[in-house]
């Protein structure tokens, strides 16, 4: 399905819609239609209809995925205050393909609540020093978490952009393209991290505006990876000032490693936090310094063998999912993945959907399943991980080795990693220190102490010091 063809129909609605005639497209400041895509190939277009704002969603693969269609239909039939209301419209819009053939297509019309994302709302309250709405928001947010849980709703995309605070102070979830109702014993924990992070964010905004601003600027309140750097400080403060729910939430987030279990307890904590207001407790809070960049050497003690075949675990596929079997043939630990690599030195890269993480031999999450890409170099104990188009380095404990980021990182070979920064190539050590300056047009991995680089179109061979040894 082409966005151009959808846009042609939406911009010229006359006769093209079964029920939505009169729809028109919203445009941004540059005059372009507001169109976004999602990883599952849905096309979302911001529109106005009868004076109200909506998102018109074209799910990408309904013809091949009847299960997804059923989920969307079930979801649209729900009446739930915490989810933006949506309507499933079967064979709603007549679209032409590139060859000029027309057909009716399904669409979902989702309300776009008037309001702003929760972090923007919190920031605006902080700027105007207006705490009252934030206290109310904390209560509403706790109620949202309970409502979702009671309805067994799994949203999969809870973050501070997807929670809208409406003009009448309700918290409403948007970005609902992966929402579905949990069936059977399906895990209901998928949204816990997003809820916990947001709960802590609102609490800090309520209590101390300066801390909120500082942490918000450092992304410490929007991603698990960022939060881990401030969690110990928050735990300490909570302990000293008797803010038990904050301490427990921070501990849970710090220790969860990508999966936060226990929704009932989480909802209790969010509810309790809404009734505690202790700005004085955070008076001496300071941002932690960037983490030390010293590498942590790989430890093989937990592996049992050196270079065993997949560390004594066998990665197999069952029912379309990957899992690990022990040598006895039984499942080594709970956990099934869409993607899984063999273990190496006690760690393996696994993926769910399009996100990747690192696990240990007990199945514990060492790096949250939240990265765009992870490559694990077991012998050296270093992982190269990418998120939002930037790559950096982690150790086997999931600890970030450096605050620096690169546009691209190559493989770890001969103790060096080729790296790209702003279009120039150089080499770094596994600790993230620059080893060879970023002065090349292109650079290849080291082999036997030598690497090929390209400088002004000419291939050269350099050594570990960056000295040219061959032209």
């Amino acid at each position: 399905m082409s966005v151009n063809n959808i846009m042609e129909a939406v911009v010229n609605p006359s006769g093209r819609f079964r029920t939505l005639d009169g729809i028109f497209v919203l445009r941004n400041a540059a005059g372009d239609p507001i169109v976004t895509s999602t990883a599952c190939n849905s096309i979302n277009i911001d529109v106005m209809l009868n004076g109200r704002r909506y998102t018109l969603i074209f799910p990408g693969n309904l013809t091949e995925n009847s299960e997804r269609k059923m989920r969307l239909k079930t979801l649209a039939s729900l009446t739930l205050g915490s989810l933006a209301a949506s309507t499933y419209l079967e064979k709603e819009i007549y679209l032409f393909d590139m060859a000029g053939r027309g057909a009716w297509y399904d669409a979902v019309l989702q309300e776009a609540p008037e309001g702003r994302p929760i972090h923007e709302f919190a920031a605006s309250c902080v700027i105007t020093d207006n705490v009252a709405p934030l206290k109310l928001l904390q209560e509403n947010f706790a109620a949202l978490a309970v409502e979702l849980h009671e309805a067994r709703i799994l949203h999969h995309n809870i973050n501070q952009e997807s929670i809208i605070v409406t003009n009448d102070m309700r918290s409403v979830l948007v970005g609902n393209h992966r929402v579905h109702i949990a069936e059977g014993d399906e895990s209901t924990d998928v949204d816990n991290i997003g809820l916990a992070l947001t709960g802590v964010m609102i609490y800090l905004a309520t209590c101390r505006s300066d801390i909120f601003t500082a942490l918000h600027t450092h992304c410490a309140l929007c991603t698990l990876v960022g939060f881990r750097s401030v969690a110990p400080t928050l735990v300490e403060i909570a302990k000293r000032h008797d803010i038990a729910p904050l301490g427990e939430l921070a501990t849970l987030l710090f220790e969860c490693r990508g999966v936060l279990k226990g929704r009932v307890r989480l909802n209790e904590l969010l509810g309790q936090l809404a009734h505690i207001f202790k700005p004085e407790a955070l008076a001496h809070f300071t941002l932690p310094a960037p983490e030390a960049t010293a590498p942590v050497k790989a430890v093989n003690a937990d592996c049992g063998h050196k270079y065993p075949v997949s560390d004594m675990l066998r990665c197999v596929m069952r029912g379309g999912k990957w899992l690990y079997l022990a040598l006895g043939g039984y499942q080594a630990f709970d956990g099934e993945f869409d993607y899984a690599e063999d273990f190496s030195e006690g760690r393996a890269v696994v993926g769910l959907g399009n996100e990747f993480g690192l696990i240990d031999r007990e199945g514990n999450i060492v790096m949250p399943i939240a990265f765009e890409e992870i490559r694990w170099f077991g012998v050296e104990g270093v992982a190269v991980a990418s998120q939002d188009g930037k790559s950096t380095l982690y150790n086997r404990l999931g600890k970030r080795l450096t605050v620096k980021e690169w546009n691209w990182l190559g493989d770890l070979e001969d103790g060096m990693i080729a790296a790209e920064l702003d279009g120039r190539f150089g080499y770094i050590t596994p600790a993230g220190e620059e080893a060879v300056p970023f002065c090349f047009d292109n650079a290849y991995d080291f082999r036997h102490g030598r690497a090929i680089v390209v400088l002004t179109g000419k291939e050269l061979v350099i050594d570990h010091c960056g000295e040219i040894v061959h032209t």
Binding site: S2, V3, N4, M7, E8, A9, V11, N12, S14, G15, R16, G31, D32, V35, T36, S37, T38, A39, N41, I43, G60, Y94, F96, D97, M98, A99, G100, G102, W104, E161, G175, N354, E372, E373, S386, D388, G389, S391, N407, W408, G410, A418, E420, G423, D441, N442, A443, Y444, D445
Partner: protein, 291 residues
Amino acid sequence: MYSARITQTNPSAFIFLLDQSGSMEEPVEFLGSRTSKAEAVALTANMLISEIIHRSSREKGIRDYFHLALLGYGNDEVYPLTAKASGGSDVEGFMTVSRLAGLDVRRRSYTRERRLPSGESLLTTTEQKFWIEPRARSNTPMYKALTEGFALARRWCTKQSHAGSYPPIIFNITDGEASDADDKSLLAISESIRALSTSDGNVLLINSHISSVGTSGPVIFPCSQQCPGNARHARLLYDMSSPMPESYNDHIRRIKTDGERPPFRGMSYNCPIESLLTIIDIGSISINLIQ
């Protein structure tokens, strides 16, 4: 093969080579209007650029899933089609999607007639940004353009950061024969292009020959039985073009009649200009692999 996830750290690339020789000034019927071939080709390429930008748009902004190189050829030269608007390319002849999206370029509306299921006829108007401007001058230096395409693709593929990426796709859109080389040279440079690769597969070269309305014997993504043996230029384009990977077969079959079996070749010949939309649509299905 041809299955690498397209991410910002593992992007893919499109290279457009657009014939802008004098013959592109010939009038054609396109989307219900009379226009020039040059205008129609530019509109089609601009539509694909829009599509790529929309598919790369996320809630937090545009992500650089693709690198694009846009080259025109005509009047004995090969030139970047966006240089004037952008003041240059991002990296070595390529522009990122976010950079293209941010350019302030001309917009133009086009109208087409649609027949709705009710039988009602409807004129629809759509606005299109023009990153590529139409042009038609002098001769057809296709060899030079393919050589430049080869150099761009080679530089892109040999970047170690692209080693595992979905391979680049080159669209060569022309209405005539090369004026700067013989068949042997064209076959040699095409073979060099097709030999380039990432670990996910070889570079795909799709040659699309367009014609004015009314020509006979159009061929689109031909299978081996359809190989146009009696038309020298068609045979040349066939031999120059990439066999399409298996992952494209379902999409190609939808526009074919029963009985045509893969492998299909990435070429079209004597096709009405509107089929260019289909060719580019199928040739760019890799945009569905965006993570």
